[in-house]
Each structure stands twice: as C-alpha cells, then as structure tokens.
C-alpha cells in the first residue's frame, strides 16, 4: 500500500538541504503554506533560493523565513507590498538577492519545468528592462524573449483536500501557483486541511494528480495529535 501522508510538518520537511531551490505556493497569504514554511524555519536549512509570487507578507510564513535569514535569493513577480517590510529591509541592506520575473513568465517557466520543455519563447517583457541581455526572436511578426524553465528541488504548497496517493483539490483563489509548482519540483510537499479516503475525490475534479505529489501533510491529524499530547 502506498501512503504518502505524513501527520507532522517537521517530518515532512526534515531533509530539505541547505542551498535548496524551494518553490513556495501562495498569492499574498491566499494559498501560502504557512505551517510548512514555519516547519522549514524550525528545521534550519540555510542559503535557500525561494521562488514565490511575493516576498512575504507581515511577519508570518515566507516573511518569517526571510526574517530568519535563511533566504539567499528570491525569484518573484511582486516583492514590494504594503506589508513586505521584512523583505524590504533586508533587500535595502543588500542581504538578499532578488530576481523580478513577470508573473506570467514565472507561471510559464514553472510549467515548462513541469512539462520537460527546454526553453520557451514568451512575448512578455520584450523590449523592457526585464528582458535585457536575453535572447529574442521575431516569429510571425511578433517579438518574443527566450526564457528557461524554473525547476525546484522542493515545492511547498497548500491544498484543501487530498488523499494518500497525493491527489489534491484546492480552495478558491488559494489554488494559484500550487498546481504548477507541484509539477515543477522533484519533491512536492502539500499541506491539506483534510485527508480523505482514496476514491473520495471526484476523479473528474482532481486538480493535481498524485503523480506530482511526494508527501502530503494532514494538518487536521497533526493538530489532533498535538492536542492528544498536550
């Protein structure tokens, strides 16, 4: 029997090495896998490269990871936000590297990684600062920039429900980068609010097939366990 579920976030992230490229789901706080990121802070891995749409909000989740000085480099589309003060301060101090990637290029570079493409010609950012130094080509009269896949060593994502084979469904706009990060990483770790029996998810409505998920953490079980121990 194959059971990818783990009841404990600490166990789920235990082997993420220093220097890993970690894809972190979420758009702002929606879909941010806060519990997994907190576990990664406790775990202690350093010199991480983070790929995420934003560079952390407030003091939680990704912001806390950055504040703990575990992140060497971050790729994101929109670091600067009203509540991104943790990132802002380290960036201005020169303590964190930033690569700004247009949101759609972030998406299609992750998709290219997941699908095994070597590179893609995307129209986004042609003629702008963000395409400086990049290969370009005109195809059928339109201009394109060559962009390369973004592969993750690990993806940390938040889904709504999952089963022991790793099949996932999401909740509303918390879906965002989850499905495309899941397929772009060698090891995808998903936290779910509920682990359901095999066959309980509608096979027509599974958003992330289990093939893209290596570990699934049932937060409800973790909480029940913690309460039992308390």
């Amino acid at each position: 029997m194959i059971d990818k579920s783990i009841n404990n976030v600490a166990e789920a992230v235990r082997d993420i090495p220093d220097g890993a490229v970690v894809l972190v789901g979420g758009f702002g706080t929606a879909g941010m896998p806060v519990e997994l990121v907190d576990a990664l802070i406790d775990q202690g891995a350093r010199e991480l490269t983070i790929v995420s749409n934003n560079a952390g909000n407030g003091e939680q989740g990704l912001a806390a990871l950055i504040k703990a000085r575990r992140v060497r480099r971050i790729l994101c589309s929109f670091p600067r936000q009203a509540d991104s003060h943790v990132f802002d301060e380290l960036y201005r101090a020169g303590s964190i590297e930033l690569e700004v990637v247009p949101q759609g290029n972030l998406a299609c570079r992750l998709e290219a990684a997941g699908a095994g493409l070597g590179a893609i010609f995307t129209p986004t950012a042609y003629g702008t600062q963000l395409a400086e130094g990049k290969e370009t080509r005109t195809i059928d009269g339109k201009h394109y920039v060559l962009e390369y896949p973004i592969h993750g060593d690990v993806a940390l994502i938040k889904a709504h429900r999952g089963d022991r084979w790793g099949n996932l469904v999401y909740n509303k706009s918390a879906r965002n980068f989850g499905p495309i990060m899941a397929r772009a990483a060698r090891c995808t770790i998903a936290q779910v609010n509920e682990l359901v029996p095999l066959g309980a998810l509608d096979p027509e409505a599974v958003v992330t097939p289990g093939i893209f998920v290596q570990r699934i953490v049932n937060l409800a079980a973790g909480q029940a366990l913690a309460e039992g121990l308390a």
């Binding site: 589309s77 759609g104 129209p123 986004t124 003629g127 706009s173 879906r175 499905p179």
Partner: protein, 219 residues
C-alpha cells in the same frame, strides 16, 4: 474646465466595455471600473490570480481570505464563474483571450509604449506582477490615469522616460481631461471634457495630438 473625478473617469471607461467582454481590471483605480458596469449585464471579470466571473466585494463579515483578487482585496465569485491555476490564468492573458485590459500608468508614449511598473529610482524595490503579461497579451489595452502628474507634468509623452512595461501596446488612453486613441497616425483625441479646447489640451500634453473628435450632425 470640467475635470473628471475618479468616479467619472471609471464610469467613462465602463461605457466602452461591451456586454460579454472578458476584462481584466488592473490594481487600483482600474478596479473601480467594475462598479460602473450596468447591473444585470454579463461582464466577465478576470483576475490573474485565478478567477473568471469575479463578483463584487462580499458583505461585511463574509470575507473569505482565500477568495481575493489580484489587488488582494476580498471579492466574490458569480454563479458561472470558476477557479483555475496561474498557468491557465496567464494562458488566458498571453494567449489573446482577454478582450480588454484596463491599466494605470505613469506614462504613455505617442507610439503606445507603456510605463507603469517602476519609476526608475535605483533605490526602489522593483515589482512587476502581471502588468507586462497584460500589456502584451490583452487584445485591447486601455490606460486610465490623471492627465498630469501632481507637479503638473504631462503623463502623455513623446517617449517614456520611466522603464517600459510594454512596447506599442496601449490602444486608448482615458484621462481626467480626454479620451485619446493611439493609432498609426498618432494620438487622436476622441473626446475632451466640457470647457477644454483642443488647443488647451495640446498645450499641456507633451506629445503631438490630432484632433479626432467627432462632431455630431446636430452640433
């Protein structure tokens, strides 16, 4: 002259959005255009974080932290709306499936170049979001902005001095003073607010304008 308020500007943009259009409204002022779309009509609002058929803000107390728009404001989903991931969402944008995108801008150039993501300050933290994808992908890119900066400089320029978001992408500019189309002939003024002459508009605009206002047969 009769400078348009922010609400009047949003209402004016809304007039040009036909029923059935797939529309992405940028963060900030463009988002308010939704408030002026006729009630009862089917307008398909897209949000790049994975929503189509986005509805208005929820009633107080009914906010769902996992149902937000690209500006990270709480929203709702209409019956017939749906959710999808960022890959699909930007396929909609880059693949030419969005009919109209309305964006704010720092500057628009005579040739339709758009600058709206970065003021070029080397100390600023750059952040682009989906603006470059929208600029290049939407079938029609409309800009809505104040005609002048707070210090009175024209935001319509011969050539953008701020870093570009997209080249030659803007089709129409809505300001508090005028509606201007970017055409092969140049910047064609379609409308001016009451009490504003073409000559006055030209005098405060840092790029040559063409008077393309249509006079009704009755005028």
């Amino acid at each position: 002259m009769n400078r348009r308020s922010r609400e009047e500007l949003a209402a004016r943009v809304a007039l040009d959005i036909p029923e059935g259009a797939y529309v992405n409204l940028g963060i900030g002022l463009p988002t308010t255009v939704a408030n002026f779309l006729p009630a009862g009509g089917d307008y398909f609002l897209h949000s790049e974080n994975g929503l189509l058929g986005m509805g208005p803000a929820p009633a107080p107390g009914e906010e769902d932290p996992e149902l937000i728009n690209a500006g990270k404001q709480h929203v709702t989903l209409l019956p017939g709306g749906c959710y999808f991931h960022h890959g699909d969402s930007f396929a909609m944008i880059r693949g030419g499936h969005i009919d109209i995108c309305v964006l704010g801008a720092f500057q628009v150039a005579r040739n339709g170049d758009l600058a709206n993501w970065h003021l070029g300050d080397p100390d600023a933290i750059p952040a682009v979001g989906g603006a470059m994808d929208l600029a290049v992908g939407a079938r029609q890119v409309y800009v809505m902005m104040e005609h002048l900066t707070r210090t009175g400089e024209s935001k319509i320029v011969e050539r953008c001095t701020y870093p570009l978001t997209g080249i030659g992408c803007v089709k129409r500019i809505y300001t508090d003073l005028a509606v201007i189309d970017v055409t092969a002939r140049g910047l064609e003024v379609r409308e001016t607010v009451a009490g504003l002459t073409f000559e006055h508009l030209q005098s405060i605009t840092a790029a040559p304008l063409i008077d393309g206002r249509q006079r009704s047969a009755l005028a």
